[in-house]
């Protein structure tokens, strides 16, 4: 109970200062947005959000058999995003660059083709652009398949001299193409995923949000460790020691306050990331929670250590800054360690900050499950225990 009272006193002191609210909440949000913009520029990930090529489809008879078949095929494609429009809208969108091409299906297309007449689809695209080229290539396959399905059905109806055979035959032929083309579609989709498995997993905030979150959890130590230094400077720590409060209770109270502050800050940034930036922490809510708790424990015990070692406020700021920069840079909070490589990455990966990132990104980028965070949670907890024991040892040796 007294531990709780002490922690509440600490928290009210921390939050009393409006500036600390700015540092703990506003700054990290600004930095997240800033870093997110920076990553967006270098990871061409804009398209990755939806990397299908946009195509306007002008179709005057969407209910005719072939039109319908063709549309269904295109729409299920992983490479083309079909948007049905009328001709004017389509040309407008094309000029504005909203679509890479316009495919116009001529009036009476189904009837003409099935009657065995020539009919031509009209593709309007910038053939010199890579998107224009792609869309031409992508359309060629299903169109020729469609034509050959019609041809096959007609031949099979002729062979059996039974026009009633035409319908089932074309359905069959088309579905066969469909099965086969699924194979080719799979390869297209694989190419797309490989491309999007760049280090932001399709959303630049997947790197920025957890990175800044971990970094500012450490930065928050400036506020929380100062409370401890103040306690010594104002001699209130000495007075605490003359009450019936046991030394471990004093340590626990301060630790609890630091943990609470860090944890609340982290949760706030998680919520912001989830709601405002589409960073999907909630994909694995328990995993996110466990990582945040372990992160809070590690950061709080480091804060305790800084508070015990530092003699004046300026040293708190200095030590916190050193910790922040060291763990941010080495731990891959600013850029992924994979990008650094070598000894740097090897050392970096052992850092507690890197473990925190690892845990969060297993959820966010790699799309792994709850069991993927256990290692990160365990390592963070071990670091927390180490820092805590160091702090308690220094606290015991402290001159009061």
């Amino acid at each position: 109970m007294r531990i709780l009272d002490l922690a509440l006193k600490d928290l009210s002191q921390m939050l009393r200062d409006k500036r600390s609210l700015f540092f703990i909440v506003v700054m990290p949000i600004i930095f997240t947005l800033f870093m997110g913009f920076a990553f967006r520029g270098i990871s061409q990930s804009d398209e990755e959000v939806d990397n299908r090529i946009p195509l306007a489809l002008v179709d005057p008879q969407p209910d005719s058999r072939l039109n319908k078949m063709f549309f269904t095929r295109l729409d299920s494609s992983g490479a083309i995003k079909v948007m049905v429009m009328n001709e004017n809208e389509a040309m407008d969108a094309f000029r504005k660059g909203e679509v890479a091409g316009v495919l116009v299906i001529p009036d009476g297309f189904s009837e003409q083709v099935e009657a065995g007449n020539e009919a031509q689809l009209n593709l309007i695209a910038e053939t010199s652009s890579s998107e224009g080229q792609s869309i031409y290539q992508l359309l060629r396959v299903p169109i020729s398949q469609l034509m050959s399905a019609v041809e096959i059905a007609r031949i099979s109806a002729d062979l059996q001299s039974n026009p009633a055979e035409y319908s089932p035959a074309i359905e069959l032929a088309w579905s066969k193409w469909d099965e086969n083309s699924k194979l080719s579609l799979v390869s297209v989709e694989q190419a797309a995923t490989e491309k999007s498995s760049d280090w932001t997993g399709g959303n630049p905030y997947n790197q920025a949000s957890p990175g800044i979150l971990v970094q500012f959890a450490i930065f928050g130590l400036i506020t929380s460790a100062q409370i401890l230094v103040q306690e010594r400077k104002t001699r209130t720590l000495q007075r605490l020691m003359t009450t019936a409060m046991k030394p471990w209770e004093i340590v626990a109270g301060h630790l609890l306050a630091m943990f609470t502050l860090t944890f609340l800050q982290t949760i706030l940034l998680v919520v912001f990331g989830q709601l405002a930036l589409n960073v999907n922490y909630m994909r694995e809510p328990l995993g996110t929670l466990f990582v945040c708790v372990a992160l809070g424990l590690w950061v709080a015990s480091m804060g305790l250590l800084i508070g015990v070692i530092a003699k004046v406020d300026e040293q708190v700021i200095l030590f916190s800054m050193i910790a922040m920069f060291l763990f941010s840079a080495l731990g891959g909070l600013w850029f992924p360690l994979e990008a650094a490589g070598g000894a740097f990455a090897a050392i970096g990966k052992a850092m507690p900050s890197a473990w925190a990132m690892n845990g969060l990104q297993n959820i966010l980028i790699r799309g792994l499950g709850l069991e993927s965070v256990w290692m990160a949670v365990g390592m963070l907890s071990a670091y927390a225990l180490g820092f805590f024991l160091l702090a308690v040892w220094r606290f015991g040796k402290m001159d009061v």
């Binding site: 109970m1 007294r2 009272d5 002490l6 006193k9 002191q13 009393r16 103040q230 104002t234 001699r235 209130t236 000495q238 007075r239 605490l240 020691m241 003359t242 009450t243 019936a244 409060m245 046991k246 009061v400």
Partner: protein, 311 residues
């Protein structure tokens, strides 16, 4: 049972012995003063009593609980007013008292009414909402005392609670001490003002250079110097010119010179003073002022150490 019992207490910092074999005790319900100059070892002794420092040797007990063996029990019956203000400057007087009350285990309505009482005692009810950091030195000292009273301890230790404050606050604090004592609290009062020790105490322990050099009631201590009267003299010349001659004068128990002021302990000022004037004339020295003081604690300290209590 003695409320405070100190036996052969020792504390050394490296080779330096800050407290050497201190022994004294206080009966329940009395005021005991620890009187001594700067660096005498008063705060070090108190730190050991309040569990902040571990004694190098000896032991002490509060209400029968050894401070080394049962520190929690000893602390529970003890309130400590540290020499330095120990409060949160960014919290109000009331918030400080509420917090310290909680640290002493008070809760709810009991806490609230006790905080009101203590604010009344220290006379800061109308300033309770102000931040302690904005208070004057005297007001801070009063809150500093208040924070030690919340749990109504059996024993309260005050380490120079009146240093550096205005006469009004000082008066308020001295009256507080008397009132607390009247209500039954045992008080260990540390000071280097002999007037305070004389006014407040049932017993006085005089400390110097880490040792308790005298212990007793005010009157008992005064008797140590017998009928000696203290005479302070200033001259128009160097003290050395006359010091040896005066030291040899009949009726002079002890004579010392400090910063141009000569202090003599004599057995009967009416008889000795004319002799001092005679000797001065013979040596061609003129006495410019004479101050005769009845024996007091200052005289006692001078008698024991040859130095003034305050430098």
């Amino acid at each position: 049972m003695n409320a405070i019992e100190v036996k052969n207490l020792k504390k050394s910092f490296g080779d330096f012995q800050a407290v050497q074999d201190a022994t004294f005790s206080a009966n329940a319900g009395e005021v005991l003063s620890l009187l001594g100059p700067n660096g005498a070892g008063k705060s070090t002794t108190i730190s050991m009593l309040s569990g902040l420092l571990t004694p190098t040797g000896g032991d002490a007990s509060i209400m029968g609980h050894s401070v080394t063996k049962e520190p929690e029990l000893a602390k529970a019956s003890l309130g400590v007013v540290p020499q330095d203000i120990a409060l949160y400057p960014d919290l109000s007087a009331r918030e400080n008292l509420v917090f310290w009350g909680k640290m002493y285990g008070l809760r709810g309505a009991a806490l609230k009414s006790r905080v009101d009482e203590v604010l009344e005692i220290i006379g800061l009810t109308d300033r309770q909402k102000d931040h302690v950091g904005k208070f004057s030195g005297g007001m801070k000292r009063r809150v500093n005392i208040g924070a030690a009273l919340l749990h109504k301890p059996d024993v309260i230790i005050m380490d120079e609670p009146t240093v550096g404050i205005d006469p009004q606050s000082r008066r308020h604090i001295l009256d507080n001490v008397k009132e607390l004592n009247r209500q039954g609290m045992t008080v260990l009062y540390t000071t280097h003002y002999m007037e305070e020790a004389a006014e407040l105490s049932n017993h006085i322990a005089i400390m110097d250079k880490g040792r308790v050099i005298a212990y007793g009631s005010h009157d008992e201590l005064i008797k140590m110097v017998g009928q000696e009267t203290r005479i302070d003299v200033t001259l128009n010349a160097e003290a050395e010119k006359i010091l040896d001659a005066w030291r040899a004068t009949e009726g002079v128990a002890r004579i010392d010179s400090l910063d141009g002021k000569i202090t003599a302990l004599v057995d009967d000022s009416n008889r000795v003073l004319p002799r001092l004037f005679d000797a001065a004339s013979k040596h061609g020295v003129r006495i410019t002022s004479v101050d005769i003081q009845e024996p007091n604690l200052e005289t006692v300290f001078l008698h024991l150490t040859g130095r003034a209590l305050r430098d």
